[in-house]
């Protein structure tokens, strides 16, 4: 009878892979209405499974929903990393740091909002907007004076960002009493108490979190991306560790007592549900795919393949790397924000660099440079490690659960030895294929005709 769980886990995973395939296939159809129907269906199938109840038992229980939400946030983080590493060739371990930044940033906004304080949203919102303006302004000025070394450019950007942040804090501080009557107070509830407003604030907080992560990634990536691949990797590891250190000290070194440092931030409203997750999953998929399948995306691939040749082709390599890094971090920030409002509690331990290996493992597992592989691997990883293994080992006696993280590296090793290019290599499904323009489709036909062997493993180094 307990085997029922096991079978259930396997069936669910298979169904989800089918679901991903269907989603990508449908999104890849040319007509807009076909895409729309796909989105509605893909959403509806899972929503129905969540609502379907057989007696006491939900077809898609809270356990499965939790896994699903985590799989989706992991997908966002990993897709961002795949853009940075798989498509642009920049080995980054900082992704988990941006995830943490996004989580804490949006959590702080909604936490304050639900505590009757709109200033979090004001300051963070203003800060990201002013910060972006400051960055654009400095960028524009630096463009005029060509050839400014990266370290000096970094200094200017940093000063601009700090100034923007300072201005945002001052401006937000000045604005919030002015706006207080509109927001209401605990005695006379206004917008602050409205559930609809809370949903809107949640949405804004996710976007702000993403933007904030993107700005941080810009200022960090600017100098560091000029380092060679492995050195960049180490610097990003350092970034992840610095972020965690700051989170641990968020109430002492940083001025955020509500984050409570190492004690963990409680009381984050649990606003994440399947609707939000699905919406942002689609958003991230579209962002990443549209980025990759464009001229900029091809330039990104060129940078991965050969930086010197890319420069000789007129590609601004530094700018291109920065773009991929910023977009990748942006979606990681979104993922973090969604996660924070799912779990309702944030502790810096969750953003440790050891856990930061997970998205990297997923990206490599799924296949570097395969967006489909990343999604499949994210779902597979969560549902295997957190779902299947838990269920399986739970049946095998009291010592068995300790083996969960022993079996996981063994599986990892075996896969890497058998298939070093990852599960899917660079194969893509439906929506992600480069076949969306007419020429691309001609390519499919042609490839089929010539029976090309498109073996596409990525060779590292020389």
């Amino acid at each position: 009878m307990e085997l029922g769980y096991l079978a259930g886990s396997i069936v669910k995973l298979a169904a989800l892979i089918g679901w991903i395939y269907g989603l990508l296939w449908g999104l890849g159809r040319p007509k807009a209405w076909q895409k729309a129907v796909t989105i509605i269906l893909a959403f509806g199938v899972i929503q129905a499974a969540i609502l379907a109840k057989f007696g006491d038992i939900a077809l898609f229980s809270a356990f499965d929903q939790g896994l699903l939400i985590q799989a989706c946030t992991m997908t966002m983080v990993a897709l961002g990393l795949n853009l940075i590493y798989g498509f642009n060739g920049q080995f980054s371990l900082a992704q988990w740091g941006f995830y943490g930044i996004g989580a804490y940033c949006s959590a702080d906004i909604t936490y304050r909002w639900t505590s009757g304080d709109a200033s979090g949203l004001l300051v963070a919102g203003l800060g990201t907007i002013l910060g972006a303006l400051a960055l654009f302004l400095v960028g524009w000025l630096l463009k005029k004076k060509r050839g400014v070394p990266v370290l000096s450019a970094f200094t200017f950007y940093l000063i601009a960002l700090v100034a923007a942040g300072f201005a945002a804090v001052k401006l937000g501080g000045a604005l919030s009493p002015l706006l207080a009557p509109y927001f209401g107070s605990p005695e006379a509830p206004g917008v602050l108490a409205s559930p609809l407003a809370l949903q809107i604030v949640f949405f804004l907080s996710i976007i702000v979190a993403g933007a904030f992560a993107a700005e941080v990634s810009f200022i960090f990536g600017l100098p560091v991306l000029s380092l060679g691949s492995d050195y960049f990797g180490i610097a990003t590891l350092g970034f992840a560790i610095i972020v965690k250190t700051l989170l641990v000290n968020s109430d002492t070194i940083l001025p955020f007592p509500e984050m409570k440092g190492g004690r963990g931030m409680i009381g984050i409203p649990k606003l994440t549900n399947w609707i939000w997750v699905f919406a942002f999953l689609i958003l991230v998929i579209v962002i990443i795919r549209n980025f990759v399948r464009s001229s900029t995306g091809r330039a990104t691939l060129a940078v991965r393949e050969d930086e010197i040749a890319a420069r000789a082709m007129g590609i601004d390599v530094a700018k291109n790397k920065l773009m991929a890094f910023v977009v990748g971090s942006f979606v990681a920030g979104l993922g973090g924000a969604i996660y924070a409002h799912y779990i309702g509690f944030l502790a810096p331990g969750s953003f440790d660099f050891i856990q930061g290996y997970n998205p990297l493992i997923i990206v490599v597992f799924g296949g570097l440079g395969s967006m489909t592989g990343t999604i499949a691997a994210s779902f597979g990883w969560i549902f295997f490690l957190e779902g299947f293994l838990r269920v399986l080992l739970g049946q095998l006696g009291s010592d068995a659960p300790s083996w969960r993280l022993v079996l996981y590296p063994i599986a990892l090793l075996l896969l890497m030895l058998v298939r070093p290019q990852g599960l899917l290599g660079t194969v893509e499904w439906g929506f992600f294929k480069d076949g969306n323009n007419p020429i691309g489709r001609a390519r499919e036909k042609l490839s089929a005709a010539v029976k090309l062997k498109g073996s596409g493993t990525k060779k590292e180094g020389e």
Partner: protein
């Protein structure tokens, strides 16, 4: 040398020097490249030819001296800026984007004049659709010129060597250059292929109205195709002139064959 006016000169290098630590890879190199010419840069191994190419294209920064392209200083520019100004190059060891298709290799070269930005691609605007279609069609037409359109969807690394060379040259031309630098285009080719390559170079020069500077070791190829030749040894220019002048130049023969050889050659 002052006889060539700037109007006629597409590229001018004045006293270009590149030092790697204490080693002078290129020393006080002067080079004037008349518009529309095919000029050769030859010299024994380690003479600094490829370094000179790297200086022109901005791959490595110059230590001292000046490089002007069409009357404008280009030393100190980034490599991609030099390319966008109109200088394209190929590499000694072919540097195609090996895991991408031939079509993508060419489309990447179009990137700097794709006509749409990141915003367009993220939003999939109409501009994106139009420009992307136009760009792709242009790339296909372009490949057609070289009879490479049949290979458009081949992955670059799966092509045979000779074709990779041709794709690399085509890719360089896709950058819409007015000056093309070819680094040992005939390396690894048999005599027949070399002859084909000579025709090919003439063809592209006329078709795209190019000036060409090339490095080559195969003397028959160089002598057969170049109108002017500059000879380098140990980072310095030791001779320049027409192929006929170079062939009898004592210092050149010495550089290639060692001292004493010149006399034998002369006799």
């Amino acid at each position: 040398m002052a006889s060539i006016k700037t109007g006629d000169t597409i590229l001018s290098i004045k006293k270009a020097t590149k030092a790697f630590g204490g080693l002078l890879a290129v020393k006080d190199l002067d080079l004037e490249l008349p518009k529309g010419a095919i000029q050769g840069l030859i010299g024994p191994n380690g003479a600094g030819k490829t370094t000179a190419f790297n200086l022109i294209t901005g791959v490595i920064p110059i230590t001292s001296g000046a490089i002007s392209f069409e009357g404008e200083r280009i030393d100190g520019l980034e490599a991609y800026e030099v390319t966008r100004l109109g200088i394209a190059r190929t590499f000694q060891n072919i540097r195609l984007f090996t895991n991408l298709s031939v079509l993508d290799n060419v489309r990447i070269a179009y990137h700097s004049h794709a006509g749409y930005g990141l915003g367009d691609s993220l939003l999939r605007s109409r501009r994106y659709a139009e420009k992307e279609k136009e760009l792709t069609e242009r790339a296909m037409d372009f490949l057609g010129i070289f009879h490479l359109d049949g290979l458009a969807f081949e992955i670059a690394k799966n092509l045979p060597y000779g074709q990779q060379r041709r794709v690399e040259i085509a890719r360089a031309l896709a950058c819409a250059p007015r000056l093309l630098l070819l680094d040992e285009p005939a390396a690894g080719m048999n005599p027949k292929e070399t002859l084909e390559l000579m025709d090919y170079i003439h063809f592209i020069k006329d078709r795209f109205d190019l000036t060409i500077l090339l490095i080559e070791h195969q003397m028959r190829f160089v002598m057969g195709i170049c109108e002017y030749i500059t000879v380098m040894d140990f980072g310095e220019e030791i001779a320049r002139g027409t192929p006929a002048q170079i062939q009898v130049n004592e210092r050149v023969v010495e550089a290639y064959l060692g001292k004493g050889a010149a006399k034998i050659a002369a006799s």
